[in-house]
């Protein structure tokens, strides 16, 4: 077993974690940034087979210039006194800290519908990540569906890789999306981005008030039913906005409120010396993550005064995030999408019909093994929380499956 110790440990090398590292590196202490991926950047700045966006490169090179150690391919699976217990290259690695900054980001929310487990049906961000990893989608007909601004970014990316994006299917109402678009006047840079994106997506139908009812296979094609209309395509990319990754903060005992980690203006959680920044404190996009990360980094080295100067920016980013989340709030009809035979837990193949007999997530888990497979409810837990309004359990170690000898 290996042991390391740093003054500040940051979990997650996305925008929030990298910004936190850059800010904290203005003091002398040792800093480590951990990430489960082979490369820094997180999901939004996921490198495209080696290359990455300039904003990301800038921040990452700043990290490399300073005394920050990037520890990649590292999965935190348990905690002990001021220590993270990890697995790296199949070996146990313990990393001690004085201050901890959690920047574990978010994942896509997936909702079950008939056909969602078929090969060729991916997450929206999921398909984008696979394409960035080298999945060739040239000339593939693709339906992009679900909810959130991510759908537009995904469609744009897939199109740039010579896929044929047939339609974008968005569950949010057109009225609320128009209102959101108008509100972008508050953030001119976002308005410019949105206008450019819209221009690039001209010709691709953007269907609001719409959602996939089912997907089936016929002669090697996917038949996607939306309202009374059927689309034929090769691939489906479907994700319903994002949910925070709460397993680590929950395991550490940080208070979770309304589905996000509760923090104060200095990004302090309810546990001493533990900070949290970025999507884990609320879904809000890259700008919100960057500013929260910077504040957390400064606060972790005791420069609260400097951090306080960033509060107006933080407030603006939060106001944007609130408008965003209100716009893409999930409609109740989506709860009725799965029929009794539709799987909700893909690890243990548990159906909605089997789960709906119960009155709580815990009871459903114990009786049906729903959420007890390798993903530990990361996919079906978020779905069950939405469909049944169930509170989820607090995380229990190991929060990721690891080798027996490393436990």
């Amino acid at each position: 077993m290996d042991k390391r110790h740093f003054d500040i440990v940051i979990v997650g090398a996305g925008p929030a974690g990298l910004a936190a590292g850059a800010a904290a590196s203005s003091a002398d202490g040792s800093i480590a940034i951990l990430d489960e991926n082979p490369q820094a950047g997180g999901q939004i700045w996921r490198a495209e087979k080696g290359s990455r966006s300039s904003a990301a490169s800038k921040l990452i090179s700043r990290i490399n210039e300073r005394n920050i150690e990037f520890i990649s391919g590292t999965q935190v699976f348990d905690t002990a006194d001021l220590t993270l217990v990890c697995e790296r290259d199949g070996r146990r690695l313990e990393i001690g800290y004085n201050k901890l900054i959690i920047a574990t980001g978010a994942r896509e929310r997936f909702l079950p519908f008939p056909g969602w487990t078929l090969p060729g049906v991916f997450g929206a961000g999921g398909l984008q990540a696979l394409v960035k990893g080298g999945f060739d989608i040239t000339n593939k007909g693709i339906i992009v569906a679900g909810s959130g601004p991510l759908l537009l970014a995904v469609a744009d990316h897939l199109k740039s890789k010579d896929a044929k994006v047939i339609a974008i299917i968005e569950q949010a109402r057109s009225g609320s999306i128009r209102k959101f678009a108008r509100s972008l006047w508050h953030s001119p840079d976002k308005l410019t981005q949105a206008a450019a994106l819209r221009a690039r997506l001209l010709g691709i139908p953007y269907k609001t008030d719409s959602f996939i009812r089912s997907v089936r296979e016929e002669n090697g094609e996917k038949i996607v039913t939306v309202r009374n209309r059927e689309y034929r395509c090769d691939l489906v990319a479907c994700g319903f906005h994002l949910v925070p990754n709460l397993e680590l903060p929950s395991l550490l005992g940080c208070e979770i409120k309304d589905g996000v980690v509760a923090v104060d203006e200095m990004q302090r959680t309810t546990i001493n010396n533990i900070f949290c920044a970025g999507e884990t404190t609320g879904i809000g996009g890259v700008d919100r993550s960057l500013i929260e990360g910077e504040i957390a980094g400064l606060a972790a080295i005791g420069r609260d005064e400097e951090a306080r100067k960033l509060l107006p920016k933080r407030r603006a980013a939060h106001a944007f995030a609130d408008r965003l989340n209100k716009t893409f709030q999930l409609r109740d009809e989506l709860k009725k999408l799965p029929d009794d035979t539709t799987l909700v837990c893909r690890c243990e193949d548990v159906t909605i019909g089997a789960v709906k007999e119960f009155t709580s997530w815990r009871e459903a888990k114990l009786q049906t093994r729903c959420g007890m497979g390798p993903c530990q409810g990361r996919v079906c837990g978020a779905a069950a929380r939405f469909i049944f309004d169930w509170e989820l359990d607090t995380a229990r170690p190991p929060i990721y499956p690891v080798r027996l000898e490393n436990l």
Binding site: G90, E108, G123, D136, V379
Partner: protein, 79 residues
């Protein structure tokens, strides 16, 4: 280009490709087989859903979306 071995067959892969992408490019439908015998492909692409797991160099349950393909890697799918 590098060569990896998938279910006993050598396939050519661009350097830097993730294992999940390499398998998709080569038409692998069942990365793993579910407990009710359904073939599954990756869902999340980021290490969360565990649908993309395959055996790599004798080590079972490896998430192919988090692994970069390496020369000579021996992969078994459908488990």
């Amino acid at each position: 280009m590098i060569t990896i071995i998938v279910d006993g067959k050598g396939i050519q892969v661009d350097e830097g490709t993730t294992l999940a992408a390499a398998l998709l490019n080569n038409g692998i439908v069942g990365f793993r087989t579910s407990v009710t015998n359904e073939p599954r492909q990756p869902l999340c692409g980021m290490g969360v859903c565990f649908e993309c797991r395959v055996e790599v160099d004798g080590e079972p349950h490896q998430r192919s979306c988090l692994i970069t393909a390496r020369e000579g890697m021996n992969v078994i799918t459908g488990g």
